[in-house]
């Protein structure tokens, strides 16, 4: 019964990952990130993603503040924040978020306030979707790890 649970959870993880790849939410870089995780750094992926969430939410708040005043929008500062979000998003394989950042930056370079607002709304939407799905993925992974540990208690040190 526990063995079935582990396999079921493994299949669920793979199903979710396939979906995210198929939707273009994640790209190959996410797999590269997973491959950097090993016994000496067993929580590497979740640590990186946690930092990504924390930094991204700061950047999104800053972008929202910069766009609040139509007359005084600081487009140079916006580009700095967007470059940072693009860099971190591409580093974790968050392809759709990265693509929206590119479009946002193009609107910012043209001082297009309405375009920037639209891009920000899309960016917030894409980021929320990504965050929810990654939380789901980590929950399944945690359940799988627990189920594996319960299945093989004799192998624990």
């Amino acid at each position: 019964m526990l063995g079935w649970g582990v396999e079921f959870l493994w299949a669920e993880m793979n199903r979710l990952l396939s979906l995210l790849f198929h939707q273009g939410v994640l790209d190959e870089q996410f797999l590269q990130l997973q491959q950097l995780q090993d016994e000496s750094s067993p929580n590497f992926v979740s640590e990186v993603i946690t930092i990504y969430f924390h930094e991204s939410e700061k950047l999104l708040r800053n972008l929202r503040l910069l766009l609040m005043d139509r007359e005084l929008s600081d487009y140079k500062k916006m580009e700095i924040h967007l470059n940072q979000m693009m860099g971190s998003s591409s580093s974790i394989g968050a392809k759709r978020v990265c693509n929206v950042c590119v479009a946002f930056r193009a609107a910012s370079e043209q001082n297009n306030h309405a375009g920037c607002l639209r891009a920000l709304e899309l960016l917030e939407h894409e980021y929320c979707y990504l965050k929810n799905k990654l939380h789901e993925l980590f929950q399944i992974e945690q359940q799988r790890a627990l189920a594996s540990g319960a299945r093989y208690p004799a192998h624990q040190n």
Binding site: Q29, Q32, L33, Q35, L36, Q37, D38, S40, S41, F44, E47, V48, I51, Y52, E55, I80, N83, Q84, M86, G87, S88, S90, S91, I92, G93, C98, V102, R105
Partner: protein
Amino acid sequence: MSTSQALSVTSLKGEVTALVVDDDKVSQVIHHHLLNILGIENHVVGNGKEAVEIHLSGKKFNLILMDRDMPVMNGIEATKKLRDMGIRSTIAGVSSHSVSQERQAFIEAGLDDYHEKPLSVAKLLSVVSKIMHKA
């Protein structure tokens, strides 16, 4: 197989040191980890000014991974400054989504190599192999 297992035969422990210059915390953590996997002792700083200051303090590195877009002092300014100071380390520029003029300006500042983010194991290995050939 994890990347660290696959790379276990290529450890450069003690042979190469590196400096990561990037304001983005995600990139800092990933690049630091990638370098650790290769056995490369490395420091991390958050902008070009800190990169210049760490060199002024007397520290030297074989490799500098230099982000282009940073506050206080960007990668282009920092690279020019380090070259003017006589720093001959391998400087590899890393940037997210540049147009060709931006890339060219960064290269002309004094880079030995340039890669778009994300920095993968393969890209990092190609940079490191240039250092080994230089030596």
